[in-house]
């Protein structure tokens, strides 16, 4: 089964299955990945689902939208490939996807 790897700030790795049609935030919360809260349920309203996409995957996953960009812009841990994971619809064709978690969610 296609899987995504979440890498915590301390470097700990956690795998979860990529369920087609789910958002990456849902994949994380459904699999008890620590460090992704998803407080607003995926409305791009809270900013507690921040992930940093592995640069080799950035093209496949795509860039952030304008609203998402504003939510991320003030984040001190923001990086070039930062995304709100609730705004990423995952695909089963993304087997091996790796994302890094920030130290803190805002």
């Amino acid at each position: 089964m296609a899987a995504v790897t979440f890498v915590s700030h301390d470097g700990e790795k956690c795998e979860a299955p990529l369920d087609e049609g789910c958002s990456l935030m849902q994949v994380a919360t459904n699999n008890a990945i620590a460090g992704i809260d998803g407080d607003c349920g995926g409305e791009a309203a809270c900013g507690t689902c921040h992930v940093i996409v592995d640069p080799t995957w950035a093209d496949k996953v795509g860039p952030s939208g304008p609203e998402e960009e504003e939510m991320l812009s003030m984040n001190p841990e923001r990086q070039a490939t930062s995304r709100l994971s609730c705004q990423i619809k995952v695909s089963e064709s993304w087997d091996g996807l790796t994302v890094q978690l920030p130290e803190f969610q805002m």
Partner: protein, 400 residues
């Protein structure tokens, strides 16, 4: 693995977070989540937004998948808890069964305040709190019909927007002299009134309901002024009351909510509580507050779980909230209690995006941000740091 059993009463935002956090905090014993809604715990905010507008299914609203509970070994029980027998450390369920607990968390939430007016029990009169309420409302939302919404709070206004999208004629009746009166500055109320009127909603302030009329089914709403408004359906959104009956009957201290301390403990330190059913003394605001929001339910639930697991966590006193209406996203950081000044960035009488900052003695206490996610995130940070604000810098952003 321990054989201790943690029982969580109420399976919604607070309950669903609490059981997940219990595992994260290392609870290795049994976990039982008891709730009286038989469906998987779901997101409530979309009920008045996307779900009412028919844009998503209940399945898509699940907070976590069915699989999650199975994998985390969390047992879900569909039942109503009738009584807490503290001396025996047991719950009495609606079925008559008893369920023993070693740790107990109350996440019983809230229920809509009932409208006390003649005719309030006619067919076609609805409240909006549960998915089953929306399913009933949807049977009545036929395009071209007249919908009357009683109460111009967030839920009332979101409902108005969703019903407009479904093609109904919508009237909002607000008893106060402006919508959102309880929660926001006049400038913000004026903005939302303008937007709703532009979308074709008839917003009436100072309109208190005298009676609902019709035989069997509602046909109209009579106002205190004597005026009558035609209605094929009525949705009542005049606030909520915390569901504290269980706690009260068990002798826990209840003061406009189950009173909890900074570690989510009730007056019985072996019982924790989280979510809309709680109230808490918050030093920062110098008073007791009861929050009605998902972020607060989630935060309190995380702390309650940590407390059960004997870890030291305290509730972060940084409330925030959001509301969607039409293409507007309102994000609110902080709590504007006791504000003595507002500063605007943008012009709410003209623009489609603006921020209203609330200050108290020069300190930022809250910000209402409309289509301004950046201002929201900035405010959240300023509030967390309790940093001194430079008012000129806040408003200068309009220029860019």
């Amino acid at each position: 693995m321990s054989t201790a059993r943690a029982v969580v009463v109420g399976a919604s935002h607070a309950g669903a977070q609490l059981v997940a956090s219990l595992r994260q905090e290392g609870w290795s014993g049994e976990i039982v989540l008891v709730g009286d809604e038989s469906v998987l715990p779901y997101q409530r905010p979309p009920l008045s937004k996307a779900y009412l507008a028919g844009k998503c299914s209940l399945k898509e609203l699940a907070i976590r998948s069915e699989d999650f509970y199975a994998k985390q070994d969390i047992k879900r029980v569909a039942a109503t808890v009738k009584e807490i027998d503290r001396s025996a450390a047991e719950l009495v369920l609606g079925t008559g069964d008893r369920l023993a607990y070693d740790a107990l968390a109350l996440c019983t939430g809230a229920h809509p305040r009932r409208l006390r007016a003649e005719g309030a029990d006619l067919d076609g009169v609805h409240y909006l709190r549960r998915s089953s309420d929306v399913e009933r409302i949807r049977e009545d939302t036929i395009p071209g019909r007249n919908a009357v919404i009683v109460g111009g709070g967030y839920i009332g206004l979101e409902t108005a927007a969703s019903l407009r999208a479904l093609g109904l004629h919508v009237t909002v009746l607000e008893a106060a002299d402006r919508v959102l009166e309880r929660v926001s500055a006049p400038e913000v109320s004026t903005f939302f009134t303008r937007v709703h009127e532009h979308e074709g909603v008839d917003v009436r302030n100072n309109a208190s309901v005298e009676a609902l009329v019709g035989d069997r089914r509602v046909q109209g709403v009579v106002l205190a002024s004597g005026e009558s408004v035609p209605a094929d359906l009525v949705i009542i959104g005049i606030g909520i009351e915390p569901s504290t009956e269980l706690a009260e009957a068990a002798g826990l201290v209840v003061a406009d909510g189950i009173l909890i301390d900074a570690q989510a403990r009730t007056s019985d330190p072996t019982i924790v509580a989280a979510g809309d059913c709680t109230s808490q003394d918050v030093p920062r605001y110098g008073r007791r507050i009861r929050l009605e929001s998902v972020p607060s339910a989630v935060e309190q639930a995380k702390v309650a779980a940590a407390t059960i697991c004997e870890r030291d966590k305290v509730i972060a006193a940084l409330p925030w909230f959001w509301s969607d209406q039409y293409d507007l996203k309102l994000q609110i950081a902080g709590l504007n209690t006791g504000y003595d000044d507002v500063v605007l960035s943008g012009d709410p009488t003209r623009d489609h995006d603006f921020t209203c900052y609330y200050l108290r003695q020069g300190e930022l206490v809250a910000a209402d941000c409309v289509n301004r996610p950046r201002d929201f995130m900035t405010s959240k940070r300023l509030l967390a740091q309790r940093a001194a604000v430079d008012v000129a810098a806040l408003t200068a952003k309009v220029a860019v």
